[in-house]
């Protein structure tokens, strides 16, 4: 069984956020929720200023605190080392959100994609409304990606949590996660940590790396190499 991991080369990263936007697109992620995201900071004093940008996502930790916290086994590790979530089991207790030190698990407080159920028109009869647009398509919203539903709820219902699945639906078909595919600067590499010849291992051997929140003992599987 593979042990999937991701390496993000911050030297190549252009800080553009395409990963985060493409992720929303691929996974039908509603407003306010971010499976892929980023953190940034600015340090120093003018003119010696450093701006740093780190793309983030679920770390699919080997010792996943969210999995430990989940009382009903909805959050679980799969055989490929991914941390996955079963929305049909989730009771919405948010224990995983509390346990997660990375802020990458989100709770669906409201009905997702409300925008597409809204009846308001900017200009009556001349522009449309989310609801009218939605009616034209037999999917939750017009650019809804049906592929997501192959392994997970296409859109996660209100009252449950959701998070990055490393695009398990794409991995299954031999594709890389969509954030990896969409990264314009080729900063993301996805692969099998147990395969000594995988690209991720090559990079981890070549460069020193760090992981986020290593002191939490979570053993994250998203590795960062070089500097932004």
């Amino acid at each position: 069984m593979p042990n999937y991991a991701m390496v993000i080369d911050l030297h190549k990263c252009a800080g553009c956020g395409a990963c985060a936007i493409a992720c929303k697109n691929e996974n039908n992620v509603p407003e306010g929720i971010y499976w892929a995201n980023y953190i940034h900071r600015t340090r120093g004093k003018f003119p010696n200023v450093r701006y740093e940008f780190i793309p983030t996502l679920c770390n699919h930790c080997e010792e996943a605190p969210c999995v430990k916290a989940c009382p009903v086994g909805a959050m679980h590790k799969d055989e490929n080392g991914l941390t996955l979530h079963d929305p049909s089991k989730c009771i919405g207790c948010k224990a995983c959100v509390v346990a997660d030190p990375y802020g990458v698990i989100y709770f669906n407080e409201e009905k997702p994609h409300e925008f597409w159920y809204d009846k308001e028109e900017a200009i009556e009869k001349i522009t449309s409304s989310g609801q009218e647009m939605g009616k034209n398509y037999d999917v939750p919203f017009p650019y809804y990606n049906p592929d997501r539903a192959k392994t997970y709820a296409g859109v996660r219902p209100k009252g449950v949590v959701e998070k990055c699945t490393m695009c398990d639906h794409r991995i299954k078909e031999g594709k890389v996660p969509y954030c990896v595919y969409s990264c314009p600067s080729g900063a993301r590499v996805f692969g099998d940590l147990d395969d000594p010849n995988s690209e991720v291992n090559k990079l981890l051997n070549q460069y020193s790396y760090f992981r986020l929140g290593e002191n939490f003992g979570t053993k994250p599987k998203v590795f960062y190499i070089r500097e932004f």
Binding site: A14, G17, A22, F46, E120, K125, I126, P146, S182, P184
Partner: protein, 848 residues
Amino acid sequence: MKLSRRSFIKASVATGVIAAGAGGTKPMLQALAENSGKENKQVSEGEWRPTVCQGCTTWCAVQVKVVNGRAVKVRGNPHSKANNHDGKVCPRAHLSLQQVYDPDRIKTPMKRTNPKKGRNEDPQFVPITWDEAIDEIAEKFLELRKNNEPHKFVLMRGRYTYLREILYGAFPKLIGSPNSISHSALCAEAEKFGSYYTEHYWGYRDYDLRNTRYVILWGADPLASNRQVPHAMNVWGEVMDRAKVAVIDPRLSVTAAKADEWLPVIPGEDGALATAMAHVILTEGLWNKSFVGDFVDGVNRFKQGETVDPETFQENLTYGLVRWWNLELKDRTPQWAEQKAGIPAEQIIRVAREFAEAAPKAISWLSPGTSMQVRGGYAAMAAHALNGLVGSVDNVGGTIRSAKYPTQAIPSVEPFMDDIAKAGNKHHKVDQRGYKEFPALKKGKSGKGVVTNRLADAILDEDPYEVKMAIGYWNNFTFSCAGASRWEKALEKLPFFVHITTHPSEMAMFADIVLPAAHHLYERLGYIESKANTISYIAMNQRVIEPVWDVRIDETEIPWMIAEKLAEKGFTNVLDYFKSIKDPETGKTPTNSWEFSEYVLKTMTQPIWDPAIKTEGDQFSGWEEFKKVGIWNSEPYKFRNKWKDFGTKTGKFEFYSETLKAALEHHAEKHNTNVDDIMKVTKYQARGELAFVPHYEEPFRWGDEKEYPFIFVEHRSRLNREARSANCQWYQEFKDVDPGDERWDDVAKINPVDAGKLGLKTGDKIRLKSPTGEIECTAKVWEGVRPGTIVKCYGQGHWAYGRIAAKDFKKRMPRGGNNNELLPADYERLSGSTVRHGGVTRVKVEKL
């Protein structure tokens, strides 16, 4: 063929055979179905269809994933050799999904019922049919023509494809108006001025990034905006591994954040840096001797403050180096530049030295940042001249042009112009180009360039004449032009205005008729020419999904419909001309607007796809294959071809621009004056021969320093789809990918030192005031800006673009403020450019 189960059973039982029997050659399937290729819209996996993204000026060839008729994703076209390696594309492309499916798009033609126009007037739009809309427009044209004043019609162009040849090229001429006004002067004409008056190239340059060893970016931020964005992002890691990068920009752009050197120049002082770098290169003997030439005796006489005898220097592929030195460079020391530009002399020296040492694999990269300034023309020249000094012009690892685009023109309109049209076309263009104070010296000719932003004043002052009717397409001048409020006034005055747009917009709110436009990425036909990575390419805009609403293609379908209506009413010339453009494959005459669009497209791109016509670059078996692939790539650029003859007056790379001299003298002659006078009226300081060499000019700023203590700096967003994406949720949700910016907000970035003095903290609501306008936004205290400047991104502040872009659409309440309401309408007059950079205005900050 598909039998129902019932008939299948009957047939099979009758013959006793199923397999090879009754069904003939088709298997009989119930649970499964054969993929019937293109026709089958129910492909569960979807299909990637090629088209073009025009979200910025990169113009990427992209593919859209279509599932059951819906656009689901966008990626770069993997066939592209220029910009979109392995299907990569920048974040903007994804936002387009939320544009095309935006509920706030205009569904139907609409008509204004409130005759009063103004920002606070509700236009009271009502839906009308296409026929009614076109009928009204046609009537107006006929009225103008009846009164022999067709020239009082103006066509305003915004984002376009090369099918512009119909609506922008042919149509006004056939009606009788010379007034095809493009948006180009809002974009970057002053930048082209820099390369034209040195190496005779009026266009955007390509850069050989893969081979370069040093890149100086003059206000450019290629990881975020400018051109060839995906290519730059894709190779930047490699570039940074191999080359050094220096960024000259008052704000910490993302490219600056990653660069080896950040030179946070005082806005508008770029010319000081460029001339000082040239000074260093010359005094230290670091110029490229094989390209530029050398002193006859090999002894470097370029010594600070000392003039040089031209006779002692033997130039090779350049012209006027010594004169440039004597007129300008000899006193432009790094120490002098430090005083002007606020950059330490040692940093200037280091950058100049390392840049020259990397030569000729060194790039001095121009952008609007340096050139779109009142006195930016010469700064652009100076920055570009550095490429000449190190011989990187047209060279490996340097700055290059583009390979040829083998397209062909549509037939001439001449034979179809009647007397009214001919008379109308003789009028001077309405945008005041070529006026004494607006030389607009595009390609060396007085008044050849456009002065887009001046059109508002022309309308208001009826100078040179009154404008009675206008059509604008994919433009939004009331938002995108500096001094935006003048445009509101001008449109209030304009008696009949038709706007072709996808969204309600600041400009549409002043329209009499609004026509819903097809979205360029998803719903139209067209083609574009662009370049990157030493490859030129032509890509096709295609209709990849059924249009969401009843929209038409601005550049071809709408003129066709007007032409039909005009013909109905007795004026057939336009339609006759349109019908003269036939299908190059079948020779068929177009019978409707769609066929017409397709035939124009096929005609113009025929040399590419027609195997009978020999061209270089990608080869196709025919139209269908070109459509399927969606992009034609040229052969890689051939370096040093221009070295034989740059095309300038002297054929050389001109440090002393005989080409500019001729252009300026011609313009002066036209107005019975001399070049010094032209310099004066165009707000330049140079007198005498200085006007012909790249040189330093003090930045021109609006506002008194005492009253307006801060210099205003504007920059671009990496999510701006030319200021059209603010109504996309993702734009707002990810706005902080622009360093220093905040999600769902519009911030003015202030250095902590200044913020401390003003008692401001992040999140405070503030008002920015310039001598010509004011806007409200949020304060952001951030180290990435130069003290004394206020930096703000362009793109927010829409009050009429939709419910997300505006804070409250119904109340016309913008989210943040539009920089163009703050910026004065001023110009780099030699090129006609609108200015927005170089700290053109000072501002003051009020806490709300």
